[in-house]
Each structure stands twice: as structure tokens, then as C-alpha cells.
């Protein structure tokens, strides 16, 4: 919940881009005969509404009502005094402030004559909201539109690529502070990492550490003091203007610089590829893929779609323990990581 900079730059995110996304979404809605689409937002699940409007909530919850035509309506459980801030940071024309989201949604949908209504991630939406909606509007035909949204969301546009690249650059600069230097790496680097990313204007940064890769090859959430051993890893999940990437690197304080550089060169060159056999001296472990395909900023996927931004999480092992890395890539036109390109240049 450590929100950093939340501001809207029309240069970085032109209104026309958001309107184009909306038009594309409506094309998908028409294909399924929907009268309207509901897209939920709250602190942990801001990504879908952010993608369509640039709105990122720092409190409470909201629902974007996307009708087949005309401006979408953002209903939020925030008081009216927050509306000016929403207008400054997002591309929305009508904001409804309501303590009873379900009842307000029902009134809106009913008055618009919208009966067949899709909802992204219907089962995960707050029961209190959807039950109130159904109680107030018994004629509504709610349908789950998760797959529709995922299909719409897959391919990154130029704006998403640019913002994700900026997030990755912020992460790269911050992560460089975790490299071993002349002195042993201490926990206070985490403070420097946090400060670096936020000074660069990131919206959010999550820091995970694996303090001792010889003992445990898992990242853990920072929950208090930490102490780095000889081999460790740091993972940064960084958001910039609503777009999230993960970047992780492992380090070994005993290695000479040229050994570290050689390994980093291999990892960086393989960043856009699922082929990790080229990491000298290591056996290859599992690969995990994540992308933004719904309301969560990043979630697991099995296979990338063509032109999708994907965070690739990789693991290797040698006799010294695990070696971890994560990199954001742009999946190739065949929707395969082997044809993808690294987001960081």
C-alpha cells in the first residue's frame, strides 16, 4: 500500500490511446452481444480500469461501467471530495460517488436498459456488491467476461510498451544498487533501492529478497530486518503509470567482477528467450511467466499471446545453490517466448 507518484501525463498517455482501447474493447463486447461491461478496481486489482482510464485507486473500490456507446461511468466508493483528484489523474467524464456500489450499478444499468451485462472476473468480485446489484435489478443477466477481457488485453500497444520500458528502466537503476561492491552488501541497500525508484517517479515498488540462495532459493516478502549472505537475490516489482514489470537478479559477493559480468551478459542476452541452456555452469530450473491480463497487475500465464508484455521468471542451480532472474520481455508475433525481445535495451 505504499503508493508513490500518481499523476497523469497526457504526453505519456494520450487520451486518444485510452479512447482507442475503449473502442477495441467495445468491439469485443459487440462480438458477444453484451449490453454493458463491468470492470472492477481496488488497491490490489487496479490494472483493468487503469488500462482503460488511467485511474488507480489508493483507497476503497470502484466499478467502471462500459456501455456500448457513450462515455463510460466510474462508480466509486469514495467521497465527492476525491472526485477532483480522480479527474486530475484519470480520463473519466462521469464519476458517481456512492457508499452502495451495487445499488448504484443497478440503477445505472436499469435506466440504460442494459440487461445482458458482462463482468470481468465475476466470481472474484465482492459478493456484497454483486448481490446488491442482483437484488436491485432481478432482470439482469450477468455473465463472466474474463476471457473476453483477456483476449482484448493481450497485445501491447506502443504506449504500454513505452511505459513498461520506463518501469523496467527504473527497476534496473534501483537494482544496480544491490550489486556487491567493495564492502559486504547490507540491508540498508533496500532503503536506497526504495528511494531510487520513488525519486524516479514510480507508482509502486515491491521488494522481495532471497537473502541466502545457498540455503533457500525462494523470494520472500520483506517483513522486517534482513541480512544478506554471500549469494543472494533481489526482485523488484515496479509500476509506472499503471504498468508493472518484474526485474530480479542474483549476486555472489565472493565472485570477481568479470565472473559476475559474464553471467549477467548471458542472462541479459537470454532475457528474451526461454532457452536458458547457455548459462555456463548451471542447470536449468523451472520458468514462470506472468502478464497483465485482468484486474491484477501481473498474474501467471501458461503461454504468451503475440505481442504481449511478459515477465519471465527463471531459476538455475549449481553447487552453490539457486540463481534467480526475472526480466520483462515483449513476446514475438508467434506468441512464443523464443521469439520475444527484451524490454530493456
Amino acid at each position: 500500500m505504499r503508493r508513490g507518484l500518481l499523476s497523469w501525463s497526457e504526453t505519456e498517455v494520450p487520451p486518444a490511446v485510452l479512447e482507442d482501447r475503449l473502442a477495441r474493447l467495445r468491439g469485443h463486447m459487440a462480438g458477444e452481444g453484451l449490453d454493458a461491461l463491468l470492470v472492477y478496481t481496488n488497491f490490489p486489482r487496479p490494472a483493468a480500469v487503469s488500462y482503460l482510464t488511467h485511474f488507480v485507486p489508493y483507497w476503497s473500490q470502484g466499478m467502471l461501467i462500459v456501455p456500448p456507446e457513450g462515455a463510460p461511468v466510474l462508480a466509486v466508493s469514495l467521497s465527492k471530495r476525491v472526485s477532483n483528484w480522480i479527474r486530475e489523474t484519470a480520463h473519466v467524464s462521469e464519476i458517481i460517488n456512492t457508499p452502495n456500489l451495487g445499488r448504484e450499478l443497478a440503477a445505472r444499468l436499469k435506466s440504460g436498459g442494459h440487461i445482458r451485462v458482462g463482468a470481468v472476473e465475476l466470481n472474484r468480485l465482492p459478493g456484497a456488491v454483486i448481490n446488491a446489484l442482483e437484488a436491485e435489478y432481478p432482470d439482469i443477466e450477468l455473465t463472466d467476461s474474463t476471457a473476453l477481457y483477456q483476449d482484448f488485453r493481450a497485445t501491447a500497444d506502443e504506449t504500454e510498451i513505452a511505459l513498461s520500458r520506463r518501469a523496467a528502466e527504473i527497476a534496473r537503476t534501483a537494482l544496480a544498487l544491490a550489486r556487491p561492491g567493495d564492502a559486504a552488501v547490507q540491508a540498508d541497500i533496500l532503503s536506497a533501492i526504495e528511494r531510487s525508484a520513488r525519486m524516479a517517479g514510480c507508482e509502486e515498488i515491491l521488494i522481495d529478497v532471497a537473502e541466502d540462495l545457498a540455503a533457500d532459493g525462494r523470494f520472500r516478502r520483506l517483513d522486517g530486518p534482513t541480512a544478506f549472505k554471500d549469494r543472494y537475490a533481489v526482485r523488484l516489482s515496479v509500476a509506472y503509470k499503471g504498468h508493472w514489470v518484474r526485474l530480479a537478479r542474483s549476486f555472489d559477493q565472493r565472485w570477481p567482477e568479470d565472473r559476475a559480468n559474464e553471467l549477467e551478459a548471458h542472462i541479459a542476452s537470454a532475457a528474451g528467450s526461454a532457452d536458458t541452456s547457455g548459462l555456463p555452469g548451471f542447470s536449468t530450473g523451472p520458468i514462470g511467466l506472468e502478464a497483465c491480463i485482468g484486474t491484477l497487475p501481473l498474474q501467471s500465464i501458461v503461454k504468451p499471446a503475440a505481442g504481449q508484455i511478459v515477465s519471465v521468471n527463471r531459476t538455475w542451480h549449481d553447487e552453490g545453490g539457486a540463481w534467480l532472474a526475472s526480466d520483462p520481455v515483449l513476446a514475438g508475433p508467434d506468441g512464443n517466448t523464443s521469439g520475444s525481445v527484451a524490454l530493456l535495451i
Binding site: R3, P44, D188, R198, G288, E290
Partner: protein, 367 residues
Amino acid sequence: MNVIHRERQERLFAAMADEDVDGVMSWGNAWQCDYLRYVSDYSVLEGDAIAIILIDGDLHLIVEGETEAGRARAKCPGATVEAADDLVGAARRYLAKLGNRQIVTAPRTLLPYGLAPENLDRAAADGTDLLDRLLMTKSPAEIDAMRRATEMADAGYRVFRDAAEPGVAEFELVAEIEGYFREAGSPENFMIIGSGGQEVRGMHPAGERRLREGDLVTTELSPCVDGYFSQICRTLVIGEPSRVQQDAFQVYIDAMKAGFSVLKAGVTASEVAKAENDVFRDYGLEEYTTSEYTRVRGHGLGLFLDTKPHILEDVDTVLEEGAFCIVHPNTYHPVAGYMVLGDAALVTKDGYRTFSSTPAELLSTVG
């Protein structure tokens, strides 16, 4: 298992036994995970999560994706952890395995549609009240964590005050505070900020505005120790405070004092709110106690930063001994702009106890 969580589990299992409950299914997410943390000692960092704990101590965690599952496994080695794309489906399958056991769910307000009682094919009573009673009254170890969080908030405010100067952007100021809290070991912090003059109506996440001489800079800092949040609200003037600002702020000083003057075990949230609001009424500022200008006049603190009860005149929840809350008469002032002042306090039998050392006054970058 750490002391604080052992205490929680003892209280939880005793309450479950009292009510013939075999298991609790609690829901949490990266914003609000107090119910989840209480039963599992796990705070989710990304997405939503479900913890199902049985009275014999068996704990099952369902989280979204392998990244979060890795964190959960590292934090809770004794639990079974399931990474699921379909959290609701996974929870339903797990519940089905539990047969006829008496399972309650909490908090009802956060439960997803797919797990709402109407949509479950088994009975699951509402366990929100059971958990609320435990969450609201703090144990000695919990109080100690909140004391330390309050001290961290004080230290954070000193960093804030030192870093706030003309030319600094709001987000740069936040970067300094978050860097400090990270260094101090706080895994979470909720912080909003406002800067400017009479035109400012509230606080929000940091923007790009740069501080100017004469600005009122409002903030609330909410660091966290061992999962427990405390909070401090203060208003800082960049430079010398004007007479208008000082006069306006007297209302907030009086209102916070009035709120604290009635605070003790057995009073309702309503009584505290009324005491604060009456001061505004006396100053002819009643309008600014309404939802048009302010949200709440304080709230509970604990494993969530905005927990029950909300300090409002229509909330009759009784504050019991051991409750922890913040009294903050934050609102817009028509002459000076948005101002805040608030301290966290432990409710005691005869009154309250604060742990904050930051002066409860209009602060300034000079002097």
C-alpha cells in the same frame, strides 16, 4: 511460531471452541488482510488470498499465482500453500473436502461473489463478529507492537519535517519517507499528502506539485511493525505560520483534545466523534464535519490501518479496554484549507494512553 501469533492462535482457538466452530475461512488482500493475518500470520503482497484454519491448527493458504505462493511458503512453512488461478474454485474444492465440519467465514464484506453464502453449496455461517472481537481488543504483545509502530511514525514524521522544503515535489518527499521506513524495517506504510493553501480540500497520493513557502503540508503516516499499523496526522507549514493558519488550527487542537477527553473503555465511537464535532459546532464550522468535507473523525488501528470502529456520530460500537484507535478531526477549513491532526491511543479502563511524542500543534519548517 512467534509470541504474538501464538497469543493470537490461543485466543482464536478458545473463541472457536466457545462457539462450536471447527474452522475459519478468512479472506484478505494486499490492501486489507487483518482477518487473514490474524488466523495465519501471513500478509498477502499481491492479489487476494484465502486462509482456512481448523481448530486443530491445520492451515491451508490459497493465493493467486506462484510468485505469491513462494512468499507464502517462505512465511508459513507449516501451512499447505496452493497457488491458484481460480481462487474461488480452489476454495470451494477445499471446503468440499471438509465435509460437515462447522466452518465460518470472515469478513463477510470482503467475500467474493463466488464464495458468498448464496452461491456456496454448503453452509458457512458468518464469523465476522467472532474475529472482530479478537481484532479489536489487543493483547499485551499486540499493544507492544503498536507502541513500536507509533514510535516509528514519530521518527518518520521527523524525516518528513526535515525533508519538506520549498522546491521539493510531493512524490520526492514521499520517496524520502518510504526510504526511511524501509530502512527502519516497516514492511508497509500508508501515506497520503496534501500541499498548498485554502484551495486544498483533502489528501491524496503524491503528485508532482512542488512545495512553496507558506504552504500547508498535511500528511498521515501509517507504518507497521509485526503487521500492526499505527498512524500519525500532522500539518506542517513551509516557513512561518500565518496568523490565519494558527487561528484556524486551534479548532483542530481543541477538537482532538475534546475527543480524547471522553475516550475511555465503555464509551461509544459516537461519543468520541460527537465530542470532536461539538468543537467545530462551537466555532460555527459544523458544515465541515459532514461527509462533504471529511470521511471519519478517527478509526480503529491494528492489523489493518482503517479497522473498526470508525469514529462517527452514527457508530455505536463500544470501545473496550485494549482497543487501539486514532482520534483525528481532519477536515477542510474554509479560511485556511485542509488541516489534519491526529494521534493513536490505547483505550484503558480509566482513559487512554498515547505513545506519540510529536507535538500536537501546527508545526513549521522553521523553529
